[in-house]
Amino acid sequence: MPKWKELIRRRLAELNLAPEREAEIAEELAQHAEDRYEELKLSGVSESEALRLTLDEVLDGKAMASGLRDIERTGVSEALVLGARVKEGHFLSGLGQDLRYGIRTLRKNAGFSAIAILTLGIGIGASTAIFSVLNGVLLQPLAYPNSSQLLNLYEKGADFNYGSVAYPNYLDWRRESHSFSGMGAYTKADFNLTGSGQPEQVSGEYVTASLFPVLGLTPPLGRTFRPEEDRQGTGCTVMLSYNFWQARFGAKPGILGKTLTLNAMDCVVIGVLPAAFGAPVQVYLPIEQWSSGELRVRDSHPGLRVVGRLRPGVGIQAARGEMEAIAKGLALQYPAANALTSVTAVPMKDDMVGGVRPVLLLLAGAVGFVLIIACANVANLLLARSAARNREFAIRAALGAERWRVIRQLLTESLLLSLAGAALGLPLAQWATTLLVAAAPASLPRSGEVGMDGYVLLFTLAVSLVTGVLFGLAPAMHSAKTDPQESLKEGTRGAGGSRHRTEGIFVALQTCLAVILLAGSVLMVQSVWRLWQVNPGFTVSRLLTMHVALSPKAMTSPLGIRTALQQLVQRVEALPGVETAALTSLLPLGDSDSEIAFWQGNGPQPSPDQVKAAVFYVVSPDYPAVMQIPLLRGRVFTGRDNLSSTPVALIDDVTARQIFPGIDPLGRQISLVALGTVQVVGVVRHVKQWGLDSDDTNKIRNQIYFPLAQVPDKFMSGGVTGLTLALRSKGDPLSFGPAVRAAVAGPTDDQPVYALRAMTEVISRSLAERRFMMLVLIVFASVALLLAAIGIYGVMSYAVARRTNELGVRSALGASHWQIVGLVLRQGMGLAGAGLIAGLAASMMLTPFLRSLLYGVGASDPLTLIAVTVVLGFVAVLACLLPAKRATSIDPAAALRCE
């Protein structure tokens, strides 16, 4: 027998009580301990366990000492009983008690707590992940100083709002405008880097010297371009991106002053740009170094983008007004090139992220649903548990605890749960964010800026607090409302019809939200599936595409270029397993585009409303054969279509119908801006240039093909970077990669291949945004479905337990197992059914937000509704089955004995 008195006196020593008082208390407690210890041993507990339990209960850590300290030292205090009114000014100390008690309660119900924390962790983690994407992409300002002053400027015409700018127009804009403190321009260009080992294709930009100062960039090494370096005829200079400098030149500062050979130009390195700037671009050259004739022509639009920085105090509207006036003036001055051209000015950030805003907001909405479902689930768990705790609260109330005090205790517990959920959710979010950014389509702007920061952490904290209150409030109100008299009287069966109603509502709400997510994901799956079935107008399989560039040695003369291109195709075609190969300036469904203005006949350029725009392909003769674009009339290009023969063109059937309605287009003439009049020699089938889905609705649907061999010499020098080689293979196209690379490289081994892709991959990329949305929605819908199933299961299990007596009586009276199962199923399916109907109605209202991502299915697509109903019904039955099975195994005799 342990020496209780000794043990207890030692614990009480720190209180410094009067010796006789201490002895008295120690004796009394020792007796209690002894009784308890004996009782535990009698019930079969081992001696050591009994000792531990007894000490635990009698002294309860420091609880006994601190309880005694209050009384024995401070005399009579106001607080009388557990859960009684907290004195004013002692709010926090009361909170501490709540916290301790809360933690103890949650630890005691480890299983319950684990499920609740896991559920909340998933909900909070998913929301945090989506928020960190939202935060990085939409909310944070761009990484330029005073980035709100930056506007993107575009040419605007009858058919387009965001057209690239003609360089002469840019120069005039810059000279004439006063709203901007500076204006810069840039255009993408690929460069062939030679002279140091393997030839290498590097991505670059031609920029005006003003661009980097306008953006407010300070180079970490060297300097930016001087205005005098951005002039024709001056020596070439180049700036490197930070990543390129690191990867290619080992971040050596000695790179300054070195010379790089880019497209056969020797360029001196003058600086390195900041790390955060312009991820994929590797080199920057002054735009005046661009030898292309296109730059000087006012009606040529070689992909030039313009950025302006507003003067402090000038608003966007004022700037827009001024730019429109300038554009009007230029239209009068140059009616042929600028007749319908105005200016679009948009804040740079809106321009960058505007396109993805609806998608991201949609994701935010979807994840919000998941969070609400998680909350409803935990609320239901708490409700079910509060049944077991009903009498605890009743007795607390009987002891004088006020209602709000009980609510506070319960809210403390739910907040503890949600904070634990957040603690679990954060690493989950970190992981999910990485996954999201990796899975996101390349078109997601600013994905490099996505990550956890203070805002994200703040968001997580706020979400967890709000969810804590959200799911804790309803159960807390219910518990506090409990009528102590009723709950004490009712014995083991808890009370509360309204609690069951609340549970039912929660389950229906969960089901409803899960249905919405499910419907959304089914619609997305259908859209993506239907898009895969769309005929793009050419044959996708066994088609390999890649960008190619010529050796600088070949680019000495137009003739040299023509010969080199011809030989390149011949070398590739000679490879075993390659059926045909061809070059094109533009590939369908890719990232780039190229348009040309044209009109019917051979007259001079007519009034602007007679001028049409067409997608423009410059191709080698076999291109239609390689792509297997069906020829509908006439002939395709041959080797005889060259500079010394009549210029010819192929048009697609859309153009044929539009330009030559009811007449045979063969032999007719059309005129192409800058290229002159050509004769239509064939009509081919329209291809889906702009995307499998959006091609039908694009404003520019005419397509014109022009032979590469007939491109005038003046366009031959600068315009041959960015050619694509397409080949039709006999087997898996990607297996030809190495052979094709070698064939393209040529005898001089200095012609690089890049962006090598099978056409199936190009198509898959064009669907990336939808596929991403589909995947995320499927994940969310699955989580939602799982949580809803848990919700239904939980409520039905509890309902069966509550109805034990009733079910026992029923089976005693002869109800069959099937009837009992039916009874349970009916109740569960009633809840799920209510949620299903509400969810279907709600999804019909909400799915229009998905419309821009849908293809070939309507928001109220019957197949979707059926699929959702079947899936949900299946899951709901599954969730009810276990409780139903338990109901059938109730022993009538046992059930009745419980009464």
Partner: protein
């Protein structure tokens, strides 16, 4: 109030009070010694209950608590104020076999 009513008619010692609460609340409420005794001492300081050492033949001496006159008044007042709970409380205090 619960405690007061438990010792209204019969003086009881701490262990017995704890057990009674547990049994009558069918396990829903358990006062561990760590909260029970401080509460008893507090009530004693207020003068609502009085603890007394009692020796019975063949047993250790035990401290029994009974209600003081003041305690009785408090209990009566509390009961009046909590009339709606009388039924519930009588279940705990009135019927040993509940």
């Amino acid at each position: 109030m619960l405690l007061l009513s438990l010792i209204e008619s019969v003086p009881r010692h701490g262990y017995e009070i704890g057990k009674l609460i547990e049994r009558r609340s069918q396990g829903a409420l358990r006062f561990h010694a760590a909260s029970l005794y401080p509460l008893l001492y507090r009530l004693e300081k207020r003068g609502w209950v009085q603890g007394r050492w009692v020796e019975k033949a063949g047993q250790r001496r035990r401290r029994y608590y009974n209600l003081t006159a003041q305690g009785r008044k408090v209990l009566a007042a509390q009961r009046k104020g909590w009339e709606s709970f009388v039924l519930a409380i009588s279940r705990v205090t009135g019927n040993e076999n509940a």
